[in-house]
Symmetry: D2
Subunit: 459 residues, 4 copies
């Protein structure tokens, strides 16, 4: 995941607070680190740290930053340890002055590119793709000091997913990879252009959504305004990540013209059609299952209840319970409403089943609360193959759907039935035919073969 | 508000962690302070502090506490400054050893009692009712060292709302005032008795709900088991606070046999009947309006959407925005889903309108997002009179309903219509006739006349 | 120990910052807690917490306090656990309004007084003598509302050491017990009177030292100026604590007309005469031995070196070393200068030997650094009996001098000789005959017999 | 300044705790940041942060590091902002694996080297010399993969001061620049070799001092033991920084065979001879003047007193006083002992006069305390020229000695006389003829001309 946000103010007003608010609105895309770099056309100042946006930035840190061009990043760690070195923006000093880069996505061939650069004497202080891109960019600039040409040349070497925001001199550059894996959109008000991973952040800083950056498009904003360029390898047809609609993005965002909220509601409706079951009530596993369940209730005409109550005060300072207290810990986060479940046939809707442990505890709690039957529906198809474009492997590898049938899972977790959304259902729910479904059907939009035999390679 | 939780373990096991988890489940009843006192039959250890339960207690503080009798408290400041002195449990040393008291509610005549005690030479370090009760209790014990008699005598002097948990020697005493203003219930497992402001906390520590403490009942647990006593002034008919159902309690709690969740759903249905309006969608103002809206959707057969998205990461470390950034701050917390609102007639449901400022901003955002009509329904009747039994005056005093008609409010906040729940509707939704409705109809269940002319009296 | 500081400003200026600086200058008298209470003639505000003065108070806390009468306290825990309840000032509300009390010393009969009060129905939230005094004071005020009479009557019940500062109405009262155990002095500038445990704090707030409060004197400052009263039981001859000169007070303080610096230098000279030894250099064990050593060098005409270097950065956040790292930890705090010690006969001077463990490690380090001989002199006589007037028992009980001869100690710690200052030498060094020497010669200036057989009594 | 510490353990034991303690002992050399890198022959782990060693490292951070080769650094910011990027060790990934570098000193031509590297496409994330060295090293390794040759080649490009510790593979390399500007010494115990900026840190980890690294020496430790190499450009005669003896180093260190303590004592003696004055007492301005004053007292036969008492509790959390409180703030840190100063002719000894403000306040306080005469002696010669080898320019630029005579300074600060140590006196006190005295006499041991006209260049 990760989220990026950028601004170029033609009025030369200080945009640091707006970048901060933009990142706050994108906090759901990454909670492990945050950073902001701000340029004034000459110098670039920056600050970054581990944690949530308001943990990293107090007024003090914001006051030290000043400029009319800004980029920010919230970090979700896919590759590399969660250290401050791996936080973004990645800011470097070079022969061409300071450059700041933020990146959302995963470069499939970053390891190859890194090896080649290392063989030429380059060194790396982080494990981020941004650093690889920075090194490539400076090398291209040495060959050709036109930034447009240089950035274009860099993109021709990259294989994978990248939505990028780059500050260089008095220029802000936004790029979406040729497949358009990750979202990136443009906002505008009287004085400035805005770029954001999701449109919800534009809403929040009260800026009009202008349009999505097209797959394979490079947008360049400088004092003369906005110009757009098409990357030579831009694809005819995009391969946008379906997971943005299902899970990652905020429901108030619209990605490539499709409302995330509507997709999730559609999924709920399709689930009701694809795997119907006679039940008394439908209830989400909060928070992910909420909108799916609203669609389900509409289609199946079964009353909607929130029969599992989430404790809103559970935070990261929670004292880790002893082994014996584990069940208690799940219940502390999620308590079944006995009154609603007693003697009822219940449909629960969640977004995934990871190892099955938590799902199993939820089933057990629901049954103990008196539910006669508990059925589980999953608002995403089965994930069967790794993602090389930015989703955490550790998580998908453990997905129970890789190795078990619905019936086996149901038995294992103690549900009366389990069903996943079909791939066709997902495509129908989104209403687009230009999606990346590689983790569902193993059809990768780019070459993902690995040239290394290292074993601990990400592939 | 405030929440209290207590345990007496007959197996003499250390109950401090369970009190901690119980308080965690009651966190919604008070976020300003927390404390735990633990007794072993002789000594009482305690720790308290300002902030949320996990902010006050780390493993270190919990490890310093050990015993088989425990009481805990989460603080919501009604009277007095938010200082550590005003946090509970209130633990004192006396001629009769250590005593720990936790209190939920407000004693109407505490000021008179305090003055009388002061005239007899007593001094006070806090502004809590608990300290008044502690002083009265020790005086009664001097007259009659039977704790049951002494506590009974104390209660005969108290006018107002009090759910109390008291540790004395090897005894845990639980009392609910004669009117039963505030909830208090009993749980039980093989080895221990539990007391909690709400049944949800019993669920969470995985203990069976036994029954509610009756209005005017005193329950005494010691090594011989549980005994119950009826206070001499116990009322025939209770006057339970209706706000517990409407707003305070967690929806997974059942109070005096009535499910909080069901009450809120009923309110939504009744709102749909009492003030119908032709709309395309109904949406809650999160989080308070969610269950009301689910009832509304069922009754009015209008689709349910969550058209205002709450940012789950907004916490207390949020940087205060400048005056110009205030609108932005509301939007950061609550963003309208344009896709859902555009060209729609919308019904929003909230639990109250305080000053009208936030409601006004929400109406404005909804209209800007494209809503054709925005109607507002409030899931509680109009509050017209102060509460002397434990609800913050500062808040009710500012309630806009005191002085304006529905139409005036609608105009002020920019809504197309506004309607509150009727008192009859509320009573129907709860299904009880033994409620305190004083803040709605000025019929106070106890004498609330004030003997002082001080001006800064709470009355 | 503990330190107290107070101000009454006739110009009605806000004195909170000055109390803060005064406490900062008294920080050496107590590092476990700090508090300030400020009155405006009507209300008293206060704040207190655990830790050093600058840890407890930031600008935020100071800004919440405002008034022209103030008292402050730094806490060193003699009796009771180190909890916030035991921090001072102790502020109470009573029939006579708010009262704030700070206390330095130990009341010998506080336990008896507390029991008597408890029998009358009083309760206690702390284990401080200040709370006992507060309760007694309010009872006396009920009998006789003249504060002078009431305070006088209270003092007649107290046995032990007490330097007190009390805010009552628009009055600041300073009292030094009849024996004058603990120091207390008065400062004055154009607009205000100041009271401080030590004169150094007057220097630091740039106020002229006026005089010491006399033993058995009560000084009362109100809008009419300063008045003085003699307690009925004021002693003819004081019994001032000799430890203030030897160890507690800052060297820049003058107590009862005698310079602390000069006393310590005298001690060094007398040590040189009482237990001479042929050595090449004299060196302090820092920091306590520094001024003793300067006196020694002058008398013995032996060069002065600081041959043990203290690491100024060792603070309380130090990571506790494992058992194997203990020697390393001592060396981290105190490193011998090999260059100075090699092949030398060395005289080290310290202020005490507690368990002998640290002294033993120092001797070992000095020998390992090449010292031919290492002699140790102690700048205080042997302590053989507990103090009931305010010095920590835990420490004195473990003092090695209780049970071993100089020769035995020398052998145990690996020194070539050990000698303590004689009692006569101490008296000569101070130059006063009105000292409390009870811990040295068991002659207690007040009755210290205990009426309780409890075992865990402080006596 | 800055301090570095390194270990290679042949027993393969985990050395991270020892590096931590070593850094603790070098804390006086830098308080702005700290870091440790630990290698196991393959991987290098590291952690660094802003602040004091115990602020940066808790047990948690130390437990995450494990290996038998370690280097650590305490940071004092000479060049560049105080950010985490500028903390050391500087750890990079390269074609040759991970490399960790720590550096004490200042590379005069780092700007030129950086520009050359940037022109070849290298980028920089920090402003440290360590990063320049890292980039040069990797380029050399590409040409010649023998690490000894590569490091040697790098040093031939460096002009300036550098004591370096480098981890590469299973090798620890220690280098002292050809002039030996900055100290570096070797320790040894049965299982390991140690390297430290100062010998005091070897004492503290209880390791025998072996010898100093010679100017222009490269020491390489690997599994086969220790080997030494002479850099081609090693100078015949060193130019060691005289300030290490006068101010920077701890007195318990011995640098290049000369005791820091003895040098400071000699300086005091020479001051007494060079600028004698009839006084009653001599007193240091603590802490810097203490050892100078001890030498002075011995030579001048004037009694030694510490007439200015330092508050040991003043830390970094100190609340900044308002303008009116500035005098108070100086007195809070440093209080004159009136008893000692009254009617005395006093000699004060300090290590420098920066802007004269603080000195002026000290003079004023001493006079107000009653001193008849106050003379000031400075234990260092006048600094007239900037240092390019690692001392903060900002400080020296403001040194009052640049522009005023002794008499002018005395008048300005209100002293009865002022005198600095002579350069000859300094050389005599140290007893070495191979010193860098450039800041005193403008004779720079290396070319310090600047090739840039940038203006904001460090030269």
């Amino acid at each position: 995941m990760c989220g990026i946000f950028g601004i170029y103010s033609h009025e030369k007003s200080n945009i640091v607070k707006k970048v901060y608010y933009g990142l706050y609105a994108l906090q759901h895309r990454g909670q492990e680190g945050a950073g902001i770099a701000v340029g004034n056309g000459k110098e670039i100042g920056f600050y970054k740290g581990l944690g949530l946006v308001p943990e990293v930035f107090s007024n003090k840190e914001l006051q030290n930053l000043y400029g009319h061009i800004g980029v920010g990043h919230v970090r979700y760690s896919t590759t590399g340890r969660n250290t401050i070195e791996n936080c973004q923006p990645f800011v470097v000093n070079s022969s061409f002055g300071k450059i700041a880069i933020t990146h959302n996505g995963d470069i499939v061939n970053s390891k190859e590119l890194k090896h080649e650069l290392e063989k030429k004497g380059h060194i790396f202080v982080s494990t981020t793709d941004s650093e690889v891109i920075a090194q490539l960019l400076v090398r291209e600039l040495l060959k050709n000091d036109d930034i447009i040409t240089a950035v274009t040349n860099v993109t021709q070497k990259l294989n994978g997913a990248y939505s990028l925001l780059i500050i260089y001199d008095d220029t802000l550059i936004a790029i979406r990879d040729p497949n358009g894996f990750k979202p990136l959109c443009i906002g505008k008000d009287d004085g400035a252009y805005y770029f954001s991973s999701e449109s919800c952040a534009l809403d929040i800083v009260d800026v009009e959504f202008e349009r999505d950056v097209a797959p394979g498009e490079m947008v360049v904003v400088d004092k003369n305004g906005l110009n757009t360029y098409k990357l030579p390898n831009a694809k005819e047809k995009a391969s946008s990540c379906m997971f943005e609609y299902v899970y990652f993005a905020r429901p108030d965002s619209v990605i490539d013209g499709v409302s995330v909220y509507e997709v999730r509601r559609n999924i709920g409706k399709i689930l009701a059609r694809e795997a119907p079951e006679e039940v008394d009530i439908v209830s989400p596993v909060p928070d992910s299952g909420i909108i799916f369940s609203q669609g389900y209730t509409e289609e199946a005409e079964v009353p909607y209840y929130e029969a599992l109550i989430k404790n809103r005060y559970i935070g990261r300072t929670f004292i880790l319970p002893t082994q014996e207290e584990r069940d208690l810990a799940v219940r502390l986060k999620l308590n079944p409403v006995k009154y609603l479940l007693k003697d009822k046939k219940v449909m629960l809707i969640d977004d995934s089943i990871v190892r099955g442990t938590t799902s199993g505890k939820i089933m057990k709690m629901a049954k103990k609360a008196g539910a006669k039957k508990v059925h589980l529906r999953i608002g995403s198809p089965r994930i069967i193959s790794p993602c090389f474009y930015g989703i955490d492997m550790a998580t998908t590898k453990e997905l129970i759907a890789n190795s078990k049938t619905d019936e086996e899972i149901a038995e294992m977790i103690g549900a009366d039935s389990v069903a996943y959304l079909s791939i066709e259902g997902l495509v129908e729910a989104i209403g687009r035919d230009d999606l990346c479904l590689a983790c569902l059907n193993e059809e990768y939009p780019t070459d993902v073969s690995c040239k290394f035999e290292c074993g601990n390679c990400k592939k």
